[in-house]
Amino acid sequence: MSQIAGTRARLVWAVNLAALLLVLLWTVPTFGLLVSSFRDRDQIAASGWWKAAFPSTASAFVRAGGADTAVQEGDLWVISGTVLEKGQRLDAWGVTSREPEAYRPGETAALKDGQSLTVAADGSYRLSSPTAFTGGRAMRIFVTTTVPPRVTTENYARVIGAEGLGQAFLNTLTVTIPATVIPILIAAFAAYALAWMEFPGRALLIAAVVGLLVVPLQLALIPLLKLHNDIGIGKGYMGIWLAHTGFGLPLAIYLLRNYMVGLPREIIESARVDGATEFQIFRRIILPLSFPALASFAIFQFLWVWNDLLVATVFLGNRHDQLVMTGVLRELMGSRGGDWEILAASAFVSISVPLLVFFAMQKYLVRGLLAGSVKGG
């Protein structure tokens, strides 16, 4: 018996461990970018984000002042200055690339021709010589410095302002909200008709909706762009609202119909017997009862429109101030491929709203997914 208990305990451990591993695998990439969005450019380049909580060490060299900056003190010529930038701490320094950490802060190095160099812990250096300095390249001082961990929100300020993400945020919002609201209403009426009204061709229409669910958007791009140009809508918000409404309708009708069919028949029948018109039944009974399904679809459509790149690229203008956030992000990936502080902050501005919606409304999202898929099985 104790043996079985032992196996069980080990199994519980294994399951917990497996879950932890999966969760880590699925969150670490996002978390890494989130951490990076709060680090400045130098920190990101100097060390991996997983070291962000620890001080980072960097090696570099600084050029001492040139011969023209020397001042005479008694019979010595002296060049002075500092090797540190703000926030850095000096760990060690040196005068050759072969031994960049030869000296501690505060020590003095004896150089050729009787010159000597002292670098203090605060970074100030003093290069002195018994003879006047001559021209040529100024000497290099190799320094090893430590930067304490630091959190900055500058990246966010920069991408929202200078990189145009603030405008793009507004554009995305402008695209998303009407494109989410309008199809719901159209789909709700259609779904009610398909669920509770008898008419010839109903089964055919339902089959058509199921079929249209999977039609690739790619097919629709050129024909619709041409159509919009021909009827004078052109590229712009009106066009993209209509397009997203059309593309979202099959899923909306499918989800809502599946849900409405499941509503209790007695309620609807008794309302009909009581002389309620179909419009009243729809507005007073069906619509309120279908709220969960409406919410599910609203979240789907919101996420899909907010995250879409292709439809926006085709149906909106391509001037920088007309782009939605995914468009700006794509542009930045091309032009600022290595500037991770910009990319990280931009990515997080663009995914913050969907993530917020996701965590707040997860219940409805899951419910919608289940209504859409499990039934089909």
Partner: protein, 332 residues
């Protein structure tokens, strides 16, 4: 700000327009054929024949214009030249058959098709099974499900950072190269390694889709009748047998739905390739190839449409299967 008020105006107009249509048309219908008076019976019958079409009309209009018409228009365009004027018959398809880039794209799409649905379903099943048995399962589910809310472009940025490359000797800031160099290998530019780079792109989609698979499969697993499981336990089944012999066979239907849904996503995959490699280094896929022909350089709508129709043709079997399932469900 101006555009937001434009958007708000559109919402109001749109919502008001819809309501006005549904309410107004119903009112007119009731006025023309009142359900009271001498011909009440006949009128109700007539009104009931028209009313469904009033309810469903706007949806049919949208579906017809935005989804059905484009299929036929694309078909027509694919039989015409670049500008859509001269009839060229099947030339565009003949060109496709001989084009090296198209062959690369379709082979890559098939590779995606083999790997992504299988991997996402597998991880989804694993995650469902594991998270259903622990106390913090719901939290774990939330986190695994989270990538679903992230755009493909955002996911592209997230994963490009994981794959980041710094020259040998520099500090690696990409997680993958940091692990790789810690194991004593030289750093790699993951997204340019021929053939294998496809898998690094697929990882992004698997990462996004696993949560979807998990949520649905988890619900299906919980729907399995307790008796079958209890009986198996009493008969001395190991957890392994319990899972593969008892549970999995009972949720085949759901697994098939998850599999086909992800397959559709894979066939249309565009954004990930578009932003991460743009089809370079042997990673081209159909949707991105189509975008190239339609919107880059000198557009060739004929060839672009032909590629779009190839995607449509690949989706069609699943479409038919879905429709048959839906019909069977309605009958039963």
């Amino acid at each position: 700000m101006e555009q937001l008020s434009y958007a708000a105006g559109t919402i109001v107009t749109g919502v008001f327009g819809c309501v006005a249509w549904f309410w107004g048309s119903n009112l007119i219908l009731d006025g023309v054929w009142p359900s009271r008076g001498p011909h009440a019976g006949r009128n109700i019958l007539r009104a009931n024949m028209v009313r469904p079409w009033l309810f469903i009309g706007p949806a049919i209009l949208f579906l017809a214009v935005y989804l059905v018409y484009p299929v036929f228009d694309s078909l027509w365009r694919s039989l015409h030249d670049a500008g859509g004027r001269a009839w060229v018959g099947l030339d565009n398809y003949r060109w496709l058959a001989g084009d090296a880039k198209f062959r690369e794209a379709i082979l890559n799409n098939l590779l995606w098709l083999l790997v992504v649905p299988a991997a996402a379903t597998f991880f989804g099943l694993l995650a469902a099974q594991v998270t259903d048995r622990i106390r913090w399962g719901n939290v774990a589910k939330s986190f695994i499900f989270m990538p679903m809310a992230i755009s493909f472009v955002g996911a592209g940025v997230i994963w490009k950072f994981v794959y980041d490359y710094r020259a040998e000797g520099q500090e690696q800031i990409g997680l993958l190269n940091a692990l790789w160099t810690a194991l004593g290998h030289p750093p790699e530019t993951w997204l340019t390694i021929p053939f294998w780079n496809n898998f690094f792109l697929m990882a992004v989609l698997i990462w996004i889709q696993t949560g979807f698979a998990m949520v649905i499969l988890s619900a299906a697993l919980r729907g399995i009748p307790e008796e079958t499981i209890e009986a198996a336990i009493l008969d001395g089944a190991t957890p392994w047998q319990l899972f593969f012999r008892i549970k999995v066979p009972q949720i085949w239907g759901t697994i098939a739905v998850v599999w086909t849904t992800i397959t559709i996503t894979v066939l249309k995959i565009f954004d990930i390739v578009f932003v991460m490699t743009n089809g370079q280094w042997g990673t081209q896929v159909l949707a991105n190839l189509m975008y190239d022909w339609m919107f880059r350089g000198a557009p060739d709508y004929g060839r672009g449409s032909a590629i779009a129709l190839v995607i449509m043709a690949l989706v069609t079997p699943i479409m038919v299967w879905n429709i048959r399932n839906a019909r069977r469900e309605m009958m039963g």
